[in-house]
Structures are given as C-alpha cells and as structure tokens.
Symmetry: C2
Subunit: 194 residues, 2 copies
Amino acid sequence: MNMAEQMKMVEKRTVNGVNVTQLFSTIDTLKEKPELGKFKFRATNKWISGMHNRATVKDFYGAGQEDTSRTEPWVFDADEPPVLVGENRGANPVEYALVALSACLTTALIGHAAARGIKLDEVESKFEGDLDVRGFLGVSESVRNGYENVRVTFRIKADAPREKLQELVEVAQKRSPVFDIFTHPTPVSVTLET
Amino acid sequence: MNMAEQMKMVEKRTVNGVNVTQLFSTIDTLKEKPELGKFKFRATNKWISGMHNRATVKDFYGAGQEDTSRTEPWVFDADEPPVLVGENRGANPVEYALVALSACLTTALIGHAAARGIKLDEVESKFEGDLDVRGFLGVSESVRNGYENVRVTFRIKADAPREKLQELVEVAQKRSPVFDIFTHPTPVSVTLET
C-alpha cells in the first residue's frame, strides 16, 4: 500500500461497503444539531389507464436544505395482475410495500452491522404477506384491507456467531423506518386540490 | 359500429380503462366463494454493498392457486443519497413506501370510480412525509423511526361535480390496502434462518 492509499484508508474507513467514517461523523453532527435530522421525502403519481399508474421519486429535503444530488427521477410503474383486473404493467401497490419493507430492513441491518464492525458476506431475505382482496373490493367489512400479517425470513452469511447475527435482525426491526410504518399507525392526510 | 364491435362492447365494458364487466364478475364470485379472496404477495431482497440492495417481485398466490401470469420478475434497486451515506443507486426505502401508497390510493380511486360509472380524465397526486433520521441512526429515542406524518394532495380532472370527486378521495382511503398499512398496525414476524 502506498502513502496515497494509506491516506485514503484513513479518510474513508468502510465496513460492508458502508463509509463508517462518514456514518459516525453524521451521527456526531446530528447530536450537536438535531434540526438537521428533519427530512421530507416525496413521490408523485400519475394515473395512466385502468389499474396502471406511474410514480416518480427524485427530490427531497434534508440536512437543512433541498438535496440536489439526483439529476434524474426514478420511475415506477404499478398495475394489477389479470386476476385483479389489471395487465401486469408493473408490480402492484402491496408488492411495492413489501419492496419498501425489504429494502429498509436490509439497510438498517447493514448500517448497524457496519457501525458495530461486524463484516457480512451475504444477506438475503424473503417477504410474504397475507391479504384478503375482499377488503379492497368492498365485498366484506369483516376483513382488513391491508396485510393480515407479514412473514420475513433472513439468511445471513458471515464469519460471526449466530448470536451476533440474531442481534442484527433485532436491531434492524428496532431501527427500520418502514418496519415502524408497518407496525405502528402513521397519520396520513389526503386533500383534493380545488 | 359493426356487429363484432357491438359483441365486444357487451363482453368487455370498460370505464377509465377498467374492465368493469370482469370487476363485477370478480366481486360476485368472491361473494359466493370467499376463500378465493385470500392472496399471498411476495418479494425477495438481496444485499449488494453498503446501503445498496435489490428487491424482486414476481410470483404470488391468489384466487385459489399460484399465479402464472408473470414470466419475468420486476427488479428494484434501493440505496440512500450521499447525505445518508449512500450513492443514489436507487430510491430509498421510505421513498418506496410513498410509491406504494401513491399507487394504492390511485388504484383504489380509479377502481371505485369505474365501479360507480364515474369517468375521469386525469388523476395526479403528490406525497410528502416528514421523517427525522435520528430515529433510524439511533441518535434519539424521542423521535419515531418512521414518518411522523404524510401529506397527500390529489388533483382530478373530470366532468363530474366536486362532491363526487371528494367522495372518490374518501373511498380510496377507506379501501386502499397500503393506506391501511400506513394508518393501522400490521403484525410482521422476522426470523433468522439457521
């Protein structure tokens, strides 16, 4: 390793591909200036036809300013399968909810593993939710509209004792924002623009 | 209109691009055979590196059988922006949660408008959620991890009185599965595979 490479190691220590130097510096900054922790995330949606609609994600507010790091939006098509009167032009909304949950639990698990210095080789997970479509279709008032329950299975490869990995699975649930959205009520206000 | 076209109109009456003939037939079937309403939706996730992970959606169980209508999976990359120690290789998990909410409220609104015979020209919506990242990062125990609140604005163009459109916005909230997931607790069990 030459000196330039050594300097780089000091500047940017990574665990699991996470820049933990930046992570700890961010945590220190937020302890001093808690107002920088207030973020506003956004999405827009445009109906196309039938069950097909298209969402976009780009800008957000955070760390005291409008973020400018993203130059192009991400575009997400949603639809229903034929059995639910759609044409499979995209994943359906409740599948997107599982995508969000999967990404969030994984991110929380990786981030907290990195902060603890636990190196991981592979992390894979499966998500399955039970949903009775009679709620959505207004056929029954006795079933809920959303998932009755969701089952998640993690498979982790790492040179670490199982106890440590189990702790990571626990801390992921304790810290994941989308796990919180699933398991606790969030106030949502919906307005029709005039 | 020739006879073939007339026949087609009878077979498949559409409102807002929704096949309402199939929609009502589905509702009738579910009244007779409620067990067909039980669906299982799924997603998988694989960690790539750092905050970057990749979810896929393809198969599901519903209407009494494993669905075979999808030949290819949808793939969704998730990451964090640089200010949250990522590299913008995809939308972040809480943004995917807003995508899910946007798609679901739109689908519920369109579906129920079609069932009521209300023709719509344009439906657009905006979603914004307040999230204090100190929860996720474990800096504060006094803020929640998920969204403190979410604001949704719908803009609808239609040749219908505002009262009717307001009713649609209400029924969308009443029937949307993802709105239910946001506003009510869902049991989620997380297991580490041995």
